[in-house]
Amino acid sequence: MLAYLIRRILSGFLIIVLVSIAVYALFWYGPKSPALELCRRDTNNRCSPEKLAQYEERLGYNNPIYVEYAKWAKGIFTGREIMIGARPYDCDAPCLGLSYRDRTQVTEQLKDRFPVTLSLAVGAAALYLLIGVAVGVWSARRRGTWVDRSLVASTLVFSSVPYYLVALLSMLLLTISTNVFPRVAYHPFFDNPFKWFTGLLLVWLVLGIYGSTSYTRFARGSMIEALSEDYVRTAKAKGLPPRVVTMRHALRAALVPVVTIFGIDFAFLLGGTVFTEKIFSLEGIGKWGVEATYIKDLPVVQATSLVLAVAVVMANIVVDIAYSWLDPRVRLQ
């Protein structure tokens, strides 16, 4: 088990390195130089060729890619000094570079922004897993009845409405034109857990309920399959009460595929919930990453890609561990 974990973490580390190289290369060999973007912004769109050359030189675009990549990678462990424009900027370890836009340290921004996205993701994911599984199980046990049919139908209808519409409307109707929910805002959990909770409540509900529709259908299908298994019939034949048959025998088996999907979904949530952050004006990493991509802010894009890569890799490891815990036939070695 330990050896397996170490191997998985090492291979996960390799994946993260490869992702960072890929993102770097994309910028390096991309059609438009990031230096041009920066130069234009600094000079109010009067970027002369000489000025551009200066910027390219300073940002290191004249050096071979591996030299620059090595510098960037070394900065993560030791910190470094970065020249932008005329003066040097400090970048402390773990240094992910400076944002081209405002010369702030990417790591500092990440520290501010990641908790926003993390809070969003944890609340929403917990909600959609709970709602999805609970409603799915409930629906599966009443398979074929009007309750089941109308639940399935409503999840389909609801998930056919575009997410941004749902999010926008709920914000307008529930926080701006009425005061049903408190204004959406992010307060750090450790400053004031209550404000943290109330500030994000609506966002969690919107994202959680919307996300739960696909989980409802998925959990329902998985549960119907489990309920028809021979071992569920055995459990009934033992004289176990229906609650035990459903929860301990059927649900346990039905959860395995749900957990797999959930792990990957959660990882993507951690990579940033762009619509949600944008609509509710939350400074999370999703919005940050998209905006940085527009202005070719390489260090920021690199950092957000890394967050997603780490999240996906970790989610996969956690899912595998959860698997072996749920299903003893899957032995980790």
């Binding site: 055995t234 009934k236 033992k238 004289g239 176990l240 009460p241 035990v244 088996a253 299903d327 003893p328």
Partner: protein, 370 residues
């Protein structure tokens, strides 16, 4: 629901009513499943009984209603999707329409079921011992977890699992096929049931393991003196295990009797067909293995008259199209006490000896006629 069978009264009256009736009494049991395509007539007007210490074997092909009727004894059919009429009495308690909570007290306790394919019937995620202990605890709420575990080990030992104190912590997939079936039997017997229903308990096993499991079941029955219903399509299993045999076809009983009578003097062409299709490794190589032509009858639209007539080779021996128009009664056969058959043939014994037996087991003719 209207009862279309004229055989019902005969079947019920065929057995004398005793003061202390057998442990399991099934009377005029009818199971229907309403579906979008129509009413599935899974079991029609079935009656049989099993005494403590005795074994009844139910034989028939897939869809003959043998499993459906036994699941009804445990009340395992969903009340919403099935209609059950008639009477099933377990230890004097009527279980048709019994409340779910009272039914639960019987299940796994007084009546236990052993399913075929133990790999699928045991939960893959729980340890064998935990599954046994769960079965014990649900009917012994006063027992501690440690007691239940001890009981599980004891039962695993009893059914011949080596090192039961270690294997109790294994998962089902770590057991061999035979061991899984033994564990399944241990789970069925953990609450000392008075009635054990074994649904094709040896189907998924190879022949040597099959013989061991049947021996085990025989031993355990002697030890616990329980009533046993064994469901199978294998007449070899019947010969080994049963005291009485119930042959089912198209949801109905078509022949019933002591195992010796049914195997040596069968009077219903379907039973002949079953006997003709049993391979016998020790017999004459000239003996032919004759399959029953055709397919099992539709349970949505059962054929009129005798349900077996479309596949029966002896229809023309019955006058006046009786086979195609009128359902034969389940009535007393010629050989043996309590031997019942559902067939219009006037002299089935002669036909069996002159036409059927020479084809399948010529060496037995002398024995049968003597």
């Amino acid at each position: 629901m209207t009862d279309t069978s004229p055989g019902s009264s005969t079947a019920a009256a065929g057995r004398p009513v005793e003061a202390d009736e057998p442990f399991l009494v099934v009377e005029n049991l009818t199971v229907r499943f309403p579906t979008a395509d129509g009413l599935v007539q899974a079991v029609t007007d079935l009656s049989y009984s099993v005494e403590l210490g005795k074994t009844v074997g139910i034989v028939g092909e897939s869809g003959s209603g043998k499993s459906v009727s036994s699941m009804a004894v445990l009340g395992l059919h969903d009340a919403k999707s099935s209609r059950i009429t008639g009477s099933i009495r377990v230890g004097g308690v009527e279980v048709v329409d019994l409340s779910e909570s009272r039914m639960r007290k019987l299940r796994g306790n007084q009546v236990a079921m052993i399913f075929q394919d133990a790999l699928a019937a045991l939960h893959p995620f729980y340890k064998v011992g935990a599954q046994l202990a769960e079965a014990y605890l649900v009917h012994h709420p006063e027992a501690s977890k440690r007691d239940a575990r001890r009981r599980a080990i004891e039962m695993l030992d009893r059914v011949g699992i080596p090192h039961p104190d270690q294997r109790v912590d294994d998962f089902p997939h770590q057991f061999s096929g035979g061991m899984r079936q033994r564990a399944m039997i241990a789970m069925g017997l953990i609450n000392d049931p008075s009635l054990l229903i074994a649904d094709e308990p040896t189907t998924a096993l190879d022949v040597t393991v099959q013989a061991q499991i049947l021996d085990l079941l025989n031993d355990l029955q002697r030890e616990f003196n329980s009533a046993v219903v064994i469901i199978t399509h294998d007449l070899g299993v019947i010969a080994e295990m049963a005291d009485h045999v119930l042959v089912m076809y198209g949801g109905r009983a078509v022949e019933y009797g002591a195992v010796k009578d049914i195997l040596t003097h069968p009077e219903m062409p379907y039973t002949w067909g079953l006997l003709s299709s049993v391979p016998d490794v020790s017999s004459d190589t000239d003996a032919r293995l004759i399959p029953i032509p055709g397919n099992p009858p539709s349970l949505l639209l059962p054929p009129p008259g005798c349900p077996f007539h479309p596949r029966c080779a002896h229809v023309e021996k019955v006058p006046a199209d009786l086979c195609t128009t009128q359902l034969p009664d389940l009535e007393a056969a010629r050989s043996g006490e309590g031997h019942l058959k559902r067939c219009h043939l006037a002299d089935p014994e002669t036909i069996y000896l002159s036409e059927v037996l020479p084809e399948i087991a010529p060496e037995l003719i002398e024995e049968a006629t003597s």
